[in-house]
Amino acid sequence: MNGKKLFSERWKEEKRYQKEVIRGVVDLVTFLYILGPLLFIIPYIYIELWHMPSLYWSEKLPITFLLLLLVAAGAGSIRFYVQEADKVFLLQVKSVIADMKRQGAVVALGFIILKSLLLTAAVLPILYHFYDYSMRDAALIVGWLSMYGWLVAMVRLTVSGKWRMKFVHAFFVLLFMLNVQVLMNPFIFLAEGAVVLGVTWMFFKYSVRSTGKLDAEIEEERRERHRYLGLIFQASMETDTAAAPGGKRPWFYRKSGRMFSSESSSIYLLEGLFKAFLRRREWVIGYLQILGLCMLGVLLLPVWAKFLMLLVGLLFLLSWTRYIFEQLLTSPFFFVVPFREEEEGVVWKNFRNTLFGVAALLLCVEMGVLLFGV
């Protein structure tokens, strides 16, 4: 089987898989009551955005903020559906891998252009009403956003090293911002486009042949394949969702230092649970997201709904904190070194008072400031 055919088969299989994943969540009821109405409402919202843009955006907000949102959503990646088993077979026929990468790159380019078009169209009313951008300017933004997404996608397959990648990414973001905010000129666009074409030619000729990053590419493919599944698991409290902490060593307490000075075993256990919590990005982000949403709700809703939001938010946060605590205690490591079961109650109290307590305090202070202006 040649690379083109294999890519096409894998692409179809991937679509089938993702369809099954989505169908597992979006049943008829979800579609009828959530997705259906949402799809129906979106065109109306867009029309309203054109007629009354101040309902959705403030002129006080700088355009840099909007462009950063665009650029955050605009990055692309080239998928060529390589799998673990390919290491055994395809490494011997590297031309097949190169073919798959080429096919993946062409498909990715199509999607990146489409995405850039849709993103720019979505924010067009804001660009037009608040920042005086014309249709020609918007077309240039689509072009630059596509080039940015395309360059990022190529870099992901070419550059190795996390920090080098971040540096290159930051450079492209800055270039995009500079283009849109300062250098809005078709000639500059054409000149930059010529450079990107040259880079693309080099990419198709040389980079696609490299198999030096195959392990990382397989890992990236696995992550992409399970992206929706991960989102679903992330939203579910019925399954263990947190991935293992990343990196060789922790960011917090890099030298295994103590959080608390007490030598009691319950404090050691509490400290261990806090460290484990803080080192799992998904949990920390989840905590901040819940807290952020509650605070936003309290900020924006009418007074009676603020109280409802506060109550529901606090109850949810409490049950989420309990869930995390139980997850932290179910490690099989405690078969190897058991903790004292009688200490679980004290540790839970301290754990709850810190995580839930901080969130509750913040929400109550916000409520107080909004209601009494203190």
């Binding site: 460290k275 078969f335 190897v336």
Partner: protein
């Protein structure tokens, strides 16, 4: 009288619908090293899980006070560095943390430079070394060890065996499941041979030879004949 540090009488043990082990009686006395042997699927790991009390289906009685468990696949706490595992261990023992001793052992086992790293990122051998150290530092009455030699380099195996010997001399009992029969023959005081979830022979090397009908044979040959 010599009282066993581990006494088990397993009538049956297994998982939801499957009964894996049956009629297992075993004792481990202080200072004794007992080898739990058997082919793959014989029920050694299930027996060990019965002893630890983590089997969904279990009937029988287990008498075990203070034990340390070295699993076949190293188990660490996700989100803790190797060093934090040691500090946690000593907090559960209500003993002051012997920093110098732990650091010397880490140095000896080649883990000192990675002590502040996540052990999940270590190689299999390094993970196993860390697990062994965690268990040996507990100084329990009895050790339950499942396939300890997997992934260990020869130097680490030698150091591990020396430490086990020291623990036996202290009076600790050891139950060790292994496939490394040459080593087992040299270090174990008694053997328990299992097949299809049952004990098919047990006793000293002499008694195993008698059961297999092969006088002067090695444990390897006896194992082959009996299983």
């Amino acid at each position: 009288m010599n009282v066993p540090v581990l006494q088990a009488d397993i009538i049956k043990g297994g998982y939801q619908d499957t009964e894996v082990v049956r009629d297992i009686t075993l004792n481990v006395f202080p200072g004794e090293l007992v080898g739990l042997l058997g082919p793959n699927g014989a029920g050694k790991s299930t027996t060990i899980k019965s002893l630890l009390g983590i089997l969904p289906t279990f009937e029988g009685s287990i008498h075990i006070e203070d034990y340390a468990y070295i699993p076949e696949r190293p188990i660490y706490y996700e989100g803790w560095t190797l060093y934090e595992h040691f500090t946690f261990l000593f907090s559960t023992l209500a003993e002051p943390f012997p920093e110098e001793k732990v650091e010397a052992l880490l140095q000896e086992f080649g883990l000192y430079d990675v002590r502040h790293h996540y052990p999940e990122r270590f190689s299999k051998g390094m993970q196993q070394k860390g697990m062994i150290l965690l268990s040996l530092l507990r100084k329990p009455d009895v050790y339950i060890i499942d396939e300890p030699f997997m992934g260990l380099d020869p130097k680490a195996v030698k150091r591990f065996l020396t430490m086990v010997k020291e623990e036996q001399q202290r009076g600790a009992g050891v139950l060790m499941s292994t496939h490394v029969l040459d080593t087992a023959e040299k270090i174990c005081d008694r053997f328990i041979l299992m097949r299809e979830g049952k004990i098919i022979a047990s006793g000293t090397m002499e008694e195993i030879r008698k059961a297999s009908g092969l006088s002067d044979a090695s444990l390897f040959d006896c194992f082959d004949a009996l299983t």
